[in-house]
Symmetry: C2
Subunit: 140 residues, 2 copies
DNA sequence: TGTTAAACTTAGAACGAGTCTAAAGATTGC
DNA sequence: GCAATCTTTAGACTCGTTCTAAGTTTAACA
C-alpha cells in the first residue's frame, strides 16, 4: 500500500510505478491533484482540468479518479449528506467537516488517538478507520 | 439533543415530544424504524412501508427521514462509495462496514476510545464524531 | 360543528452525480 | 506497418433524491 509520493518522482514515474499507463489525460490530472495534498470533488476537478484548453471528458475524469483510488494514490472521503470528496494526502490522518460551509480539513493522525479497537472474528481484518469530526462555527 | 426514546412512550407521543405532528404516515414509518435499533436505506424503508397496503409516497418517506434526522430521532450514516443509511440507535456508538458485503454493524462507544481531540478555535464547536471501521473478511 | 389557514401528502417531473456504450483514437509488440 | 490492446470520447442512461403544484388532512376557533 502506497503511503506517499516521493518528492523527486515525476507524475509520469509515479503512475508507471503503480502500473498505470501515463496517458496525456492521466498525467494532466495527476499533476493537478497528486503534487500537493488537496481535497476536491469529481465535479471540481472536471471543471478545473477543462479551464485551460484540451478538453478531458467526464468519463475519463471519473475513470482516472477510480484508478488512482484503486492504486492508493488518492482516497475517497464521504461527508455531509453523502457528498464524495477525494483527498491526495495519503499520510495517516482524519478529517473535520464544517457542516455549515461544507469545508473539509485535515486532522493529523497524532491529534486523535484511537484505543481499544473492537475485537473481531479471526477471519475479519480491518482495512482502515475513517474518522470525521463534524464541526460548526458558534452562532454567537 | 435527544439520545434515546423512552420505552413506555408511544410513537405518537415521541413525535409530539419532538414537535412533529403525528400524521398517519409518520406514525407508520416511526413504528417501523424507531421501536428498535436498526439500519436501513431510504429505498429499503420505502419498499417495506409499502408492502402491506396503504401506499406512502417516496417524497413522504424522504421528508419523514429528513425530519426524524433533524429532530435527532435518527442519524445518517455514510459508507461505501457514498451510500446513505439511517440508524435508529441513538446511543453513542460507531460503525463497522464490510466493504465486500456492504453490511453495516454497530460498535459500542466503549470499544473505541478517542483521545486528544484536536484543539479548535474558540468559535468552533464539535458537533459529533463519526467513526467507520472498514473491514474485510479474509480471503483464505 | 363549519370554516379557514396552515401543514402535510401525493404523483410525477426534474435534477445531479456517476456509469455505460459504442465508436474513434492512441499505444504496443511483433 | 499491422494487428491487438488499451484509452478516451460524447452522449445516453441510471439511480437516488428533491422539487412542484395540486389535492388532502389537521388544528384552531368562531
Amino acid at each position: 500500500m502506497r503511503r506517499s509520493r516521493p518528492e523527486h518522482e515525476s507524475i509520469d514515474e509515479t503512475l508507471r510505478a503503480c502500473g498505470i499507463i501515463p496517458t496525456a489525460q492521466r498525467v494532466r490530472i495527476g499533476r493537478m491533484v497528486l503534487t500537493r495534498p488537496t481535497h476536491f470533488s469529481a465535479e471540481q476537478l472536471y471543471e478545473r482540468v477543462n479551464l485551460a484548453g484540451n478538453h478531458v471528458s467526464k468519463a475519463t475524469v471519473y475513470n482516472t479518479l477510480g484508478l488512482f483510488v484503486e492504486k492508493d494514490l488518492l482516497r475517497r472521503v464521504l461527508v455531509g449528506t453523502g457528498k464524495v470528496f477525494y483527498d491526495s494526502n495519503m499520510t495517516a490522518h482524519h478529517h473535520f467537516y464544517d457542516v455549515e460551509s461544507g469545508e473539509l480539513g485535515d486532522i493529523d493522525a497524532g491529534e486523535i488517538e484511537i484505543r481499544a479497537l473492537p475485537k473481531t472474528a479471526d477471519d475479519v481484518q480491518i482495512e482502515g478507520i475513517d474518522v470525521v469530526v463534524r464541526v460548526r462555527r458558534a452562532a454567537s
